[in-house]
């Protein structure tokens, strides 16, 4: 919550200087932090300049030929860009809606489990997929959905289909498949945040609500939900900033050349044409572009959130 510090001042002294004096302990604490972030985060940002020159490792950035916006325009004006953008937005869109909501639902469902031991076991089990690398997880998925795989066997035996379906070759289904697999992998892990937020709810609030006549659903909606709304808004705004990132490893494993039209996203393209060939400039240009777009989106969404509710990033 960002309530502005009261700006009344009787004297002409700037509120900043006043704060330096009055809140000097906080400022003192900030100093090492600011030094840290300057060294580890801001100093390396000179690397972003790579996007504007024809960079070769071994030469300093200022020694390389300046090319201006060449790599940006090459990428954005390239033939593939509309398709890449479409795929990226489609998959991250699905992730920001369905994929975003699922861990929340799961947290609520978990919260409703009666038995504490069961709850703990379920919660522990739910994050196991997070630890299986994409190489392994992807291989499992491809084996399951192969034309002669188990899923097809089951569907044939159950008489639900006449001919085997090559799931992995159907580009139109790729986005759905990707979303489902992503949810499966991240559900338990992401729900940890919501669970921890939920456990901060004061029990008295539940009691009061129950007395007021709220049933279980009512309690969940009117007591639990508002408590985690700040967390939800926070995570969602941060997610919006990453809207141009829509997976990478998953596509290389679950996707194949037949579905490439649907899974090729900005990152995979940039990797194939940039990094893999050793063209750092192209990769940096794409990354800078994503950063700018993401950051601007965050600023906008943040402003909206601040006006609409109390919750915002800053």
């Amino acid at each position: 919550m960002t309530v502005n510090a009261p700006a009344q001042t009787k004297r002409k002294k700037h509120p900043f200087l006043r704060s330096l004096r009055q809140q000097r302990e906080l400022w003192l604490l900030c100093i090492p932090i600011i030094v840290w972030v300057a060294i580890f985060c801001y100093y390396p940002m000179y690397g972003l300049l790579m996007a504007f020159v024809n960079y070769t490792p071994g030469k300093e950035i200022w020694q390389c030929d300046f090319v201006g916006l060449k790599y940006f325009s090459k990428f954005v004006l390239g033939k593939e860009f509309p398709r890449l953008l479409r795929n990226t937005l489609a998959m991250s869109g699905l992730g920001m809606t369905i994929g975003f909501v699922c861990p929340i639902f799961f947290a609520f469902m978990l919260n409703e489990l009666g038995n504490l031991k069961v709850k703990k076991v379920v919660q522990t089990a739910s994050y196991l997929p997070h630890f299986i690398s994409w190489v392994v997880a992807g291989a499992m998925v491809t084996q399951l959905l192969a034309t002669d795989g188990i899923v097809n066997d089951f569907l044939m035996n159950a008489g639900l289909i006449d001919a085997r379906v090559s799931f992995l070759q159907k580009g139109e289904w790729y986005w759905g498949l990707y979303t489902v697999v992503n949810i499966w992998k991240g559900l338990g892990w992401s729900s940890i945040i919501y669970l921890s937020a939920m456990s901060g709810v004061d029990e008295e609030l539940y009691q009061a609500g129950s007395i007021d006549g709220l049933g279980r659903l009512g309690l969940a909606v009117h007591i639990t939900l508002p408590t985690i709304v700040p967390t939800i808004v926070l995570l969602w705004i941060m997610g919006v900033g990453n809207i141009l990132s829509a997976g990478f490893d998953q596509h290389l494993i679950i996707g194949n050349s037949l579905t490439q039209k649907y899974w090729d996203v900005i990152d995979t393209y940039s990797y194939r044409y940039g990094v893999q060939e050793g063209y750092y400039s192209m990769g940096t240009a794409v990354s800078l572009m994503k950063s700018l777009v993401g950051f601007v989106l965050v600023l906008i969404t943040n402003a909206i959130a601040r006006k609409a509710s109390d919750v915002a990033l800053f």
């Binding site: 490792p57 071994g58 291989a139 084996q143 090559s166 050349s257 037949l258 893999q276 060939e277």
Partner: protein
């Protein structure tokens, strides 16, 4: 008088000093230097992995080389992406003396920035190098005749194929051991097997053909007379397979096959691991790919897991040629290499380093860094026993160990134990000559010798004879690719990977024609003219270079 004696004594002392300073030559034929020669290198092979027995072997090899040669290796490897690591080393100026295995692009970075040393003047002294390479050594010089890099591996075994088609020996015998000389023969043979055994013993559906890597059209088009996907026209220009009749014929052949419904439906989405599983489950009757896939996925597994395994239950390689094709250029060997060795500006003893490299190109040098340490080596599995791969005598004569040879020839060699000899990670073999020794028998790979004594290798060579050609002029990249060409190359690969499967999987003739046209359009959009222009220019340049 006194002065004369002094002078005489000094001269004598000098002579004696010379004699003792004269390097002792060891059994390998290497002049052991006074001062330890440091070989500090970066091994550009990513995801470097070592099992325990390999680590033990590598450490033993390091000490062995230090003790017997007074040469000390200092090896840097990387667990992640090697190119990325090399670029980091370059950007931070912390790279070592030698880079082993740099890609062409990365090599050029060093050369262009003056970080690669000029080796030209040292080359004539390298006897073994010149002996092995002959005139090819001229290929690595730039326009001014200066040489800044050398190939990491060069030359090839011209009787060892790279790619082949496969069929199971026992099943082939069952259908009457027909001759397979054309693509149609291969199709008919596999179908004949399918008639007899449409399902596995476990009742699962079998496929007549399985593929991986999107069908490898660039390589397989060799059966129809194209060279690595290029048609070499009479005027020495190149046309890409998508725009040739031969390429279309190949696609039609597979399309007809696809429409019979007996091909693996996941042929174009299979990775090698997927196909391997299917092969090992005996669900695939034939496949086209590397010469070894039938080994790796077939009898090497069955001999260990199948109680009723018999020797004939294995894949053999078959070669064939389309009737219209002049030659089946299935295996094109690039003898001039594709990855590079650079001696960087950090190296202070270029002559020493090159003399060591020259040594490891001699017979005994190759034996040492590719087969491993000679004479008895402690086994890893059974520490009380010793194993041996080759024997070296004091007087310099050597021979391959008989027991090891038998194991290799009868294919009972334990590959999981070879690490202990110290060589199978490849880090010590800076430069590899991949051809045959002068004696015509030995080479650097233990399992590619004495073909005549192994029945199966014999069959392979008989069948694949006539499919192996020297493609150095076509494949060797002597002109550097610029950004636009690299871009076009990636785009063209992207294009055929998406559109070629559509053509093969078309369900009618009209659909096939449409898909083929779409493939051509996609490849054109991707910039095939840019890429083809480069390859043509490179090819013609090589022809000229090699003619001199």
């Amino acid at each position: 008088m006194f002065k004369k004696t002094l002078a005489l004594i000094m001269a004598l002392a000098l002579c004696l000093g010379c004699v003792s300073a004269m390097a002792e030559t060891n059994a390998f034929g290497w002049d052991v230097p006074e001062e330890t020669l440091k070989i500090s290198l970066f091994f550009n092979s990513g995801e470097f992995s070592t099992g325990e027995e390999q680590e033990v072997g590598m450490a033993a090899m390091h000490d062995y080389i230090l003790e017997h040669f007074n040469v000390e290796y200092d090896i840097m490897t990387t667990d992640g992406d090697a190119d990325e690591q090399l670029n980091l080393l370059l950007a931070s100026n912390t790279y070592p003396d030698i880079i082993v295995g740099a890609s062409t692009i990365n090599r050029q970075k060093f050369v262009d920035q003056g970080r690669a040393q000029d080796l030209t003047d040292y080359l004539p002294a390298m006897e073994n190098l010149n002996h092995r390479m002959g005139d090819m050594i001229g290929l690595y010089a730039d326009e001014n005749g200066r040489t800044y890099y050398l190939p990491q591996y060069f030359s090839n075994l011209m009787d060892l194929p790279d790619y082949s088609a496969h069929i199971r020996y026992d099943e082939w015998q069952e259908i009457g051991s027909p001759a397979i000389e054309t693509p149609e023969d291969y199709f008919n043979a596999l179908n004949a097997v399918y008639e007899l055994h449409p399902t596995t013993a476990a009742g699962e559906q079998r496929y007549t053909l399985g593929m991986y890597s999107q069908g490898l059209p660039e390589y397989i088009s060799g059966y129809w007379g194209l060279q690595r996907g290029w048609k070499v026209n009479d005027d020495d220009t190149l046309t890409y397979w998508t725009h040739t009749d031969e390429g279309k014929k190949m696609a039609k052949y597979f399309n007809d096959w696809w429409r019979t419904g007996t091909m693996d439906p996941d042929s174009f989405t299979n990775t090698w691991n997927d196909l391997r599983t299917k092969i090992s489950q005996e669900r695939v009757i034939g496949m086209i790919g590397g010469w070894w896939i039938g080994y790796n996925a077939g009898h090497e597994i069955w001999s260990l897991t199948d109680e009723d395994w018999y020797e004939e239950k294995r894949f053999i390689q078959v070669g064939f040629k389309d009737e219209d094709a002049e030659n089946a250029y299935v295996t094109l060997k690039n003898n001039a290499g594709g990855s590079w060795i650079i001696v960087t500006d950090k190296c202070e003893n270029v002559e020493g380093v090159l003399s060591w490299i020259d040594f490891i190109l001699s017979d005994k040098g190759i034996a040492l860094v590719n087969w491993g340490m000679p004479n008895e080596v402690k086994s890893y599995k059974n520490p009380d026993e010793t194993v041996c791969i080759w024997e070296l005598n004091e007087d310099g004569t050597w021979k391959f160990n008989d027991t090891a040879k038998q194991q290799l020839v009868t294919e009972t060699w334990d590959y999981n134990e070879e690490g202990v000899f110290g060589a199978n990670t490849g880090v010590y073999a800076i430069m590899q000559y991949q051809g045959r020794f002068d004696d015509g028998v030995h080479c650097l790979w233990g399992n590619q010798m004495w073909y005549s004594e192994n029945k199966w290798k014999g069959i392979m060579f008989e069948n694949m004879d006539g499919t192996i050609f020297d493609g150095t002029a076509l494949l060797f990249e002597s002109l550097t690719m610029d950004e636009d060409v690299t871009f076009a190359k990636t785009a063209v690969t992207d294009a055929w990977k998406q559109y070629y499967p559509q053509a093969v999987m078309a369900d009618s003739d009209e659909a096939f024609e449409a898909a083929w046209a779409a493939l051509q359009e996609a490849v054109e959009d991707a910039g095939i003219d840019v890429y083809a222009a480069y390859r043509t220019e490179n090819y013609q340049y090589n022809l000229k270079l090699m003619a001199d």
